[in-house]
Symmetry: C2
């Protein structure tokens, strides 16, 4: 039952998207987030690099898609920082909580975080993405010599929040209202970013 | 090759300790941290409950031993709080960092934390221990109506710190000095506890 589309590989055939995704997983798995290139992914998928960009955008977008990221902190958090600084800490906490209150986001977000912490081979991939796409973008907006440490401290508290409320489900954290958590944790994030 | 000690089961025979540990893992696994009783563990190991206490102390001690806890936050953190409040946040961060700088502690501590986050059946056991033995002891020392939430917020930042520095090894966090991290994160812990 070989379909006509399965034979030959014209550059824009409709299963090219799946081939690119599969090739991306291979390349990311073999070379890590930094080491994988869009060119090598295209070559493995037997398509033109332009088609990879056409379907998936930049490398970060491709990775976020194949890794199952349910939201894009690498876009959202810098956008929050650029909008207004005075209450950015609270708005970052609210962004995380509002996202994770959605069951689909929670399910995939928990999976991604578990992968990062698991010690499995795929763990460093997620870390590589964070180190390359999320933390430097936050740091760039801070314009301070210790910006990377500041961004990483923010990541540590946000990861701890997600784990305590949505993974380990510690009762006091699970039962707290969103407003209460924004009020408690927001100032921490604000201090890590700007104090 | 049945050894003489292997036959019959006098209450204090020298492999009783191992039998108790094995029985404890069974009972904790079946009934959870709260549900497992010292009496049932003794019965499964075919020893007198007094012998369980003799070898392992209280249930928390027995669990900490069979779960491989490398340090006892359920004892150490309350001790830090009782000693002096004015810089307790910094001292808690220092306690965590000094413990995890020791390779043996780090190895087992990472294992315990991974278990808690993993979604495996053993995860809730670790959470049960934290919910019953660590967080209420911290909360009891705080004497505030929202003490449990405060203790849980502390746990969330400490977990995030351990994950960022020792598991995921985000560069800025891994390379920061202990003093720097104490200075940045100590005030967060202090604020969660007392502000």
């Amino acid at each position: 039952m070989v379909s006509r589309r399965g034979r030959g590989r014209p550059p824009g055939d409709s299963d090219a998207r799946e081939r690119i995704a599969a090739a991306a997983m291979h390349e990311f798995g073999e070379h890590g987030y930094d080491g994988a290139t869009m060119r090598a992914i295209a070559a493995r998928a037997e398509v033109d690099p332009a088609l990879v960009h056409h379907y998936f955008g930049a490398k970060a977008d491709l990775f976020a898609e194949v890794a199952g990221f349910p939201v894009r902190p690498d876009r959202e958090v810098p956008a929050i920082l650029r909008e207004r600084r005075s209450d950015a800490g609270e708005r970052i906490v609210r962004f995380v909580l509002e996202a994770f209150e959605r069951p689909d986001v929670r399910k995939r977000g928990v999976m991604v975080l578990r992968t990062a912490v698991s010690g499995k081979l795929t763990g460093p991939l997620v870390t590589g993405f964070l180190s390359r796409e999320l933390l430097p973008r936050i740091a760039a907006d801070l314009d301070a010599p210790d910006a990377e440490l500041r961004a990483t401290l923010v990541a540590s508290q946000v990861a701890g929040l997600i784990i305590a409320r949505y993974i380990v489900e510690l009762p006091a954290m699970k039962e707290a209202s969103m407003g209460e958590l924004v009020e408690r944790i927001g100032p921490t994030i604000q201090r890590y970013l700007f104090d």
